[in-house]
């Protein structure tokens, strides 16, 4: 790998990008998706995170153009030069330009936008061309790349980490190695026997398992869970969340970290987020919520904090009197809860790498499982 002369790099870890215009070759959503996926390639192996801007000057401005397009480095019509990008810095620096005279496609029948964008965004982050033919930063486009199994080469990972270092280390779960064996990635291994979750919530019929900067999305319609960066769905949400639960009647998910919570509806974080947990009625002695479950039939939400729990009335929008109570008093067999959710009439409580299935009607634990049983492990 190589870097630009003088090794320019971003002096901050959170960068903004803006898609200035779109190619008519693809639906807008396909362009958005290709760019997001290309950014994720670099996000997963560095401490860098990205959020999208819809107006104004972003760090990385992404555009499609033909021939001379204002930077004195004209494109050359169909073929040959596909795109170019500038090293980190202000103004045109950091920007990525794509030659509109190419036929941009989601597959490799034309020029695959994701592959070219991932390469160009490597320039935007400070990587120059690599002489390693396996590397994404090799300057020639290869249409033979298997898009379903795409991953950065070791050379790319070493290059970008020489500028920004590795991502923050995961505290407990052994990680899937993505780079040199002496360093660990934060990509959590779903079948690690030591896997714990930060939070679990349902969302529109799916189950989300939060872990550090990622979450698994488990759909009952798909056999395999999918792993995503939290920031790729909700750029303003923090990583390492404490608790999350869905209020199906309002089509919202509340995500907790420390003494704050964020309200999301689908892909949007609601205005006014984050809010203080004390607006829900917690005493100021509560510094964080460990887990939460919302029972839609009863419109009640249970908040678990250390060995106690509170119950919140979603209809009244207030904590119920008579709480907190000891968890073990009303949920025999359950002591402490790291994460929880409700499904099929059962409560699922996660504590460290264990999971308890609890029948709220019989008031007893019906099964003890590994925490990752939902991830096909």
């Amino acid at each position: 790998f190589s870097t630009f002369p003088g090794m320019p790099k971003w002096r901050k870890n959170h960068l903004t990008y803006r898609i200035v215009n779109y190619t008519p070759d693809l639906p807008r959503e396909a362009v958005d998706s290709a760019i997001e996926k290309a950014l994720r390639v670099w996000e997963e192996v560095t401490p860098l995170t990205f959020s999208r801007m819809h107006e104004g000057e972003a760090d990385i401005m992404i555009s499609f153009a033909v021939r001379e397009h204002g930077d004195f480095i004209p494109f050359d019509g169909p073929g040959n030069v596909l795109a170019h990008a500038y090293a980190p810095g202000p103004g045109v620096n950091g920007d990525a330009h794509f030659d509109e005279d190419e036929l941009w496609t989601e597959d490799t029948t034309g020029t695959n936008l994701f592959l070219v964008a991932a390469h160009e965004l490597g320039h935007s982050l400070g990587l120059f061309h690599s002489a390693n033919t396996e590397a994404l930063m090799y300057p020639l486009y290869s249409s033979f790349t298997d898009l379903t199994r795409f991953r950065l080469s070791q050379d790319d990972v070493d290059g970008i980490q020489s500028l920004y270092g590795p991502p923050p280390a995961s505290p407990d779960a052994p990680a899937v190695p993505t780079k040199s064996s002496h360093r660990e990635s934060v990509i959590p291994a779903p079948c690690s026997p030591a896997l714990t979750f930060d939070a679990v919530s349902t969302l529109r019929g799916e189950i989300l398992f939060f872990k550090d900067r990622h979450f698994w999305r488990k759909s009952l319609r798909k056999p395999d869970p999918e792993l995503y960066l939290i920031s790729s769905f909700w750029p303003s949400l923090p990583s390492g969340v404490d608790a999350a639960y869905e209020v199906t009647s309002k089509d919202t998910v509340l995500v907790f970290k420390g003494n704050q919570f964020w309200t999301v509806r689908g892909p949007e974080v609601q205005a006014g987020s984050p809010r203080s947990i004390y607006t829900l009625g917690f005493p100021t002695t509560v510094k964080k919520v460990d887990a939460a479950i919302s029972v839609k039939e009863k419109k009640k939400t249970y908040f678990f904090v250390e060995d106690r729990y509170w119950r919140f009335d979603e209809k009244k929008g207030a904590m119920e009197p008579g709480f907190p109570r000891k968890i073990s008093q009303d949920f025999p067999g359950v002591e402490k809860v790291d994460a929880a959710f409700e499904a099929f009439g059962f409560f699922y409580f996660f504590n460290k790498s264990s999971q308890l299935e609890f029948d709220p009607n019989a008031k007893k634990v019906t099964h003890t499982l590994k925490s990752n049983s939902w991830l096909n492990c």
């Binding site: 596909l82 320039h123 061309h129 002489a131 300057p139 020639l140 486009y141």
Partner: protein, 82 residues
């Protein structure tokens, strides 16, 4: 008289080489006048530099493998420094 097919190919290859080396390997304009067969000519050195960077066999000659790689689509950022 039209050029022969072989001559056409060679000329087309030389044009491509000229443009490619000028664009990506800082070959100065006008260097085409140097005879490519001279092993120490700037053109040969540039071809060798390009072949080394692109992982090709370093021959210093405009062979078919080199031409094929030069015709592949690529990123527009030059492979040399400022």
């Amino acid at each position: 008289h039209p050029l022969s097919r072989a001559a056409e190919r060679e000329d087309g290859g030389m044009e491509l080489l000229q443009q490619y080396l000028e664009k990506y390997y800082n070959l100065g304009k006008g260097l085409k006048q140097f005879v490519i067969r001279q092993n120490n000519s700037p053109l040969v050195k540039k071809i060798q530099e390009m072949q080394k960077f692109l992982g090709l066999e370093v021959t210093g000659k405009l062979d078919s493998d080199t031409l094929e790689v030069m015709r592949k689509p690529r990123c527009g950022a030059p492979d040399v420094g400022q």
